[in-house]
Amino acid sequence: MTTTTSRAPLQAATRRRRPFNPRRAGAWALLALAIAVSVVPFLWVLRTALSTNSALASNSASLLPAEFTFGAFMRVFGLQSPADAVAEGGSGAAIDFWLYLKNSIIFSSITTAGAVFFSAMAAYAFARLRWKGRNVVFGLFLGTMLVPPIFTALPNFLLIKNLDLLNTMLGMVLPYVFMTPFAIFFLRQFFLNMSREVEEAAMLDGAKHLRIFFQIVLPNAAAPLATLALLTFIGQWNEYFWPLLVGSQDDVRVLQVGLGVFKSQSPQGAPDWSGLMAAVLVSALPILILFAAFGKKIVNSIGFSGIK
């Protein structure tokens, strides 16, 4: 918000005055370099994914795909026969892409929906209700942000194992679905700043908290809820450690874990580079689409989410 208001006059003033400023040009060059470092690797991945493995070795630096083919993508989608894959220099390693994609979508969607909704409920209690011990409990909840995930991962793994939920979607989802400390903190900040008037008017009309929560608080917090859902989904999509521990078998394996397996399947001598890079791109695609659609929202939320 503050950026958009202050940006326009500032840029107009500085840009018009000076026609050429070497320091400014240098600054732009550095910025361009940083952008290139951030973006060019993805183009390189695309170029590799569109090449055949056999041509990659002799053509290791040309910008265009070496022996252009969609073979690697077909391989990832399971549309290429092993014989064709080997003919294009693939290792014959396979990835059950559609299954892992489905698992990733289920895992990320359930955890995101659950965590955002239940955290919103809790945040409402922390921000809008008056009860004894509220701040103590909130402090304890916040404290969990300090516990390193590896520390809880070991006992959580044992718990899921004791419940006989290893290699089930339920077991993978449980630790995340009830809340995340960050989500509660994030939403509490917004709920605290909401005006009490609408709420009190509704209260006088006899509305109960449940209705206030669903019909006033949630709709009014649609924007922060969407941002939080977006950030949570991206985080869950990229999660590796917990799904590796609990969902290592094929039927619940998510894409991130699948990528690791796909990579380690290829023998050390000749990995299926173009297949691997095609898989990398396709795994990143949902995030890239989200980013294209909501990039501004994500970018603008960084200042808030980080500084707290």
Binding site: S38, L146, P148, P155, V177, M203, N220, W273
Partner: protein
């Protein structure tokens, strides 16, 4: 979303809705609060509180999953003190953390300054954020390919520059710096945005006064920007240090702890002891030590750098 909100605001009061009962007010909102907090409380107790206690308990036991844990007191800890692999993992992690802090903070500060001075466009910020949106696994695989010894493009350029090829993942001296570089690549833009947001919050009139007093840009940066950014910088440092102490994904996907022990970082060592060697007691004890280190680091950083106070207030 706006339509929904409008709808809610203009929702007519239900005529038949029950009035709040008398006793309900006097109790405060405790009852209804318990209802709202219940799901989160389940998650909090079962997946944070109990595991924390259980983790500490397990660290005093010998436990291989089959059967019950046997209490062994401080045995795990005294074994860790004499375990060269543990000390190696601590040293390797320390090296990684140090490289990360230096590279990431310096680059991010520079980038933030560039954004602040020349371009605040959302598009540019978005481009810099792209690597951060990717998973560690994807970042690792992408660089695993680009840094390949034989046909990786980076080594191609290094050769063109007349330098010898670098075995980024295969040599003991390069393995950790390479992991740190990958992480820096992924987080540089994100960290820069945090610092940039902090810079935006510094009121412009302070700079105007400095300019009137004849301060050089460097002086302004050193005497105004950096001190006023302190809370943000402390946050960035805490987040970077705590995050990089827990490096796992990139190591797991690329080097798997090797070559020899060069990238066996603490979290990877915990993983190996607990899950590949089924030694949960020992793994838990290292996890407790890691927990203590992180708590200490956060405490020192907050105290030493007085992160909670802002000079702007």
């Amino acid at each position: 979303m706006t339509t929904l909100a409008k709808h809610a605001r203009s929702a007519p009061p239900q005529p038949g809705a029950p009035k709040p009962r008398g006793g309900y007010r006097r109790l405060g909102d405790l009852k209804i609060a318990l209802f709202f907090i219940a799901p989160a409380m389940i998650g909090f107790i079962f997946f944070y509180v109990v595991p924390t206690i259980r983790g500490v308990y397990l660290s005093f036991t010998e436990y291989n999953i089959l059967g019950d844990p046997t209490w062994v007191g401080m045995d795990n800890y005294s074994a860790i003190a004499k375990d060269p692999l543990f000390w190696n993992s601590l040293a390797v992690t320390g090296q990684y953390v140090f490289l990360n802090i230096v590279l990431q903070t310096a680059l991010a500060l520079g980038l933030a300054l560039l954004m602040h001075k020349v371009a605040k466009s959302t598009l540019i910020r978005g481009a810099l954020l792209l690597p951060w949106m990717m998973s560690n696994v994807i970042a690792a695989l992408l660089w695993f390919w680009m840094l390949d010894y034989q046909i990786g493009v980076v080594n191609q350029f290094i050769e063109w520059a007349g330098l010898p090829r670098v075995a980024f993942f295969g040599s003991e001296e390069w393995a950790i710096p390479t992991q740190a570089l990958i992480n820096t690549w992924r987080h540089m833009g994100y960290t820069a945005l945090l610092i940039f947001a902090g810079m935006q919050a510094i009121p412009g009139h302070i700079y105007e006064v400095a300019k009137l007093d004849g301060a050089s840009p460097f002086q302004t940066f050193r005497k105004i920007t950096i001190p006023l950014l302190r809370p943000v910088l402390v946050l960035v440092l805490v987040v970077t240090v705590i995050g990089s102490f827990q490096v796992f994904d990139t190591v797991s996907v690329t080097t798997g702890g090797g070559p020899v022990n060069a990238t066996r970082v603490i979290q990877y060592y915990i993983y190996q002891r607990a899950f590949t060697e089924s030694d949960f007691g020992y793994g838990s004890a290292i996890a407790v030590i890691l927990f203590l280190i992180l708590a200490l680091v956060a405490f020192i950083q907050m105290k030493f750098l007085k992160g909670n106070e802002s000079d702007l207030d």
